[in-house]
């Protein structure tokens, strides 16, 4: 931050809020009377590609929902793009947890992307004029960016999962967001699609300067692209460069059970002994405890 001007900037006390896209301080989330996670401190610097890792049911999706303002924090505070959660939603592109459009959905991919541009506006769009032309261009551009032009005019329920995922990323990008939040975008895709989508996200991050916060179940397809990882466990979160965070000592401490991190011959990390989610853990889709 440069010299404070006449008006006191409420952010000037924080060391350059514009450099930190997402910040959680001592945050906690409760579902019912159970604390999902607490003591979470994390910082996502602007322009970085950051993954949130952790076992099933630990509350990774809840963490991004808290950042979006869709889920309240029970304690602590969060700032997203310098605003409280939900305040900067115009600048955030969100790709929620894997949803697929079923076969009967008779809407085209291009319509899905267009809804990302102005679907939250009341009234009907003007079908002609300067504004309509601009909107059309932005939609076409976003679709081109993700390489989905060939199938964007087909019914969205009839294209493959990987193709749908690209269009959903285009939908999140169509407003040129500063922050892109993706919740398990690689889930249930086959391996070639996983690496293609991961490369696409990295390209968006570097070429467009978009900060990317991505929930991932498996770190391997994205590991080479990541600037930082956040490992989330019940007791808190550990942040840092992938090689620093994904270590035997860290994971053993987080999970309170012996875990080993191995390095393969092609320098991939492999986590061994990662415990499955305990049986009482929340249903990860609804955030409600199962019992």
């Amino acid at each position: 931050m440069s010299e404070p001007t006449g008006v006191t900037d409420r952010r000037s006390t924080e060391e350059s809020a514009s450099d930190i896209a997402v910040r959680f301080r001592n945050a906690a989330v409760r579902v019912g009377d159970r604390t999902l996670w607490h003591n979470v401190d994390l910082e996502v610097p602007a322009g970085q590609f950051v993954a949130i890792l952790g076992p099933n049911g630990v509350g990774k999706s809840t963490l991004v929902k808290a950042a979006l303002g869709l889920f309240p924090l029970a304690a602590g505070e969060a700032r997203v793009l310098g605003e409280p959660p939900g305040g900067a939603s115009r600048d955030i592109g969100y790709v929620p947890q894997r949803r697929s459009f079923d076969h009967s959905v008779r809407v085209r991919g291009i319509d899905i992307v267009r809804l990302g541009l102005d679907g939250d506006r009341w009234g009907l769009p003007m079908p002609w004029g300067e504004r309509a032309r601009k909107a059309h261009e932005r939609v076409a551009h976003a679709i081109e960016l993700v390489g989905a032009t060939a199938y964007a005019r087909r019914p969205v329920g009839q294209i493959s999962g990987g193709e749908q995922q690209r269009l959903l990323i285009a939908q999140a990008l169509v407003r040129a967001p500063r922050l892109l939040i993706l919740d398990e975008p690689l889930d249930s895709l086959d391996l070639p699609n996983q690496s293609a989508i991961a490369a696409l996200i990295k390209r968006i991050c570097t070429d467009r300067g978009v900060t990317v916060l991505m929930v991932a179940h498996d770190v391997n397809p994205i590991l080479t692209y990541l600037d930082q990882v956040v490992y989330l466990a019940g007791g808190g979160a550990v942040c840092g460069a992938p090689r620093e965070v994904i270590t035997s000592a860290n994971l053993t401490r987080l999970y309170e059970t012996p875990i080993e991190v191995l390095r393969t011959s092609d320098d991939q990390l492999v986590v061994v002994g990662q415990p499955e989610a305990p049986a009482h853990h929340a249903d990860r889709h609804t955030g409600q405890p199962l019992q």
């Binding site: 979006l68 947890q97 008779r106 085209r108 990302g116 032009t149 070639p192 490369a199």
Partner: protein
């Protein structure tokens, strides 16, 4: 079709004059009867309203709720007759009340959005039908009076009824114009819509009320049990043929109007129940659309899968 036969025999020339294949003459013949003019007016209004509302209903997969709202109009109509007030009032008030009851029971859906609980919808439907039959048996009136609310009649439609249908229909379409875009967003993509600040729950309540009004209108033409011929079939037919939202909605209106006009004309010439006639035209259109889509798909098949999955552009 009690009212129809009464009106028909009162008319000077025979209304079941044979179909002449001279469309202008046939039309002139039909429209020389004021009750036929009102039937076409009311049918057209309802075809447009039910078509567009039904388009969203099909997209939102709320057909069960839509049917229940229509069935709720049945005790409304019979109850109003029983206590001696205008049945129109009963149609709309009961359908809208049922819409509120169903909306109140809506729960957040897995993966975002809101869905009414099908058990609650079923309870409302069963109770509404039961009340309707109770009111009919208490009334002890014409034994045929149960047919009109359940299976449709538009040959005894008054001018006031046409105006009311038009007014309610216009209000319904204005509301849909205002909320159409966010409604489409939250219908196809609830999660992202909510993250963008679209009020999913509020929209669901408003849409159920709109659906209640449309279902009450359609019940007055096609009958409470046959509303889907106006609410579902035109939309389903259009969505079969195209996935462009604007074109699909326009086709829905066209198909709805054609089926309704065809149905009214068929009922005039053949004395078949009106609900059956409209349903038959709608069903025929749906079958043809399926046939056309199947043929088109077969011709196009080799072009599917245009791009290798792993490619990054």
């Amino acid at each position: 079709m009690n009212s129809f036969t009464v009106l028909a025999s009162a008319a000077s020339s025979s209304p079941d004059a044979p179909w002449s294949w001279n469309l202008a003459a046939d039309l002139h013949d039909m429209l020389s009867y004021p009750f036929m003019v009102n039937a076409f007016r009311a049918g057209s209004i309802v075809a447009v309203v039910a078509g567009i509302v039904g388009w969203f209903m099909v997209l939102r997969k709320q057909a069960f709720a839509g049917h229940t709202l229509a069935v709720s109009a049945f005790p409304g109509a019979t109850g109003a007759t029983l206590i001696g007030i205008n049945p129109m009032f009963g149609y709309f008030s009961f359908s809208l009340a049922a819409a509120l009851a169903i909306a109140a029971a809506a729960r957040p859906r897995r993966g975002g959005g809101f869905n009414e609980e099908s058990a609650v919808v079923g309870v409302v439907q069963a109770f509404a039908l039961a009340c309707g039959f109770l009111f009919v048996s208490l009334y002890n009136g014409f034994s045929t009076s149960i047919n009109a609310p359940l299976f449709g009649s538009s040959f005894a439609i008054t001018n006031t009824q046409v105006i009311t249908l038009g007014g309610v229909g216009l209000a319904t379409l204005l509301v849909l114009t205002a909320i159409g875009r966010p409604l489409l967003f939250s219908s196809v993509d609830a999660d992202v819509a909510i993250a963008r600040g679209v009020p999913g729950r509020g929209l669901n309540v408003v849409f159920l009320l709109v659906l209640g009004a449309a279902a009450a209108e359609a019940s007055q033409i096609a009958g409470a049990l046959l509303v889907f011929s106006m609410l579902v079939m035109p939309a389903a037919t259009a969505q079969r043929l195209t996935s462009k939202p604007a074109l699909s909605m326009a086709l829905t209106v066209v198909f709805g109007l054609l089926a309704t006009w065809g149905g009214i004309a068929l009922a005039y010439y053949q004395l078949y129940p009106l609900g059956f006639c409209i349903s038959s035209f709608s069903f025929g259109g749906y079958l043809l659309a399926n046939l056309a889509t199947a043929t088109r798909l077969r011709q196009r098949r080799p072009m599917v899968s245009a791009k290798p999955v792993g490619a990054v552009a």
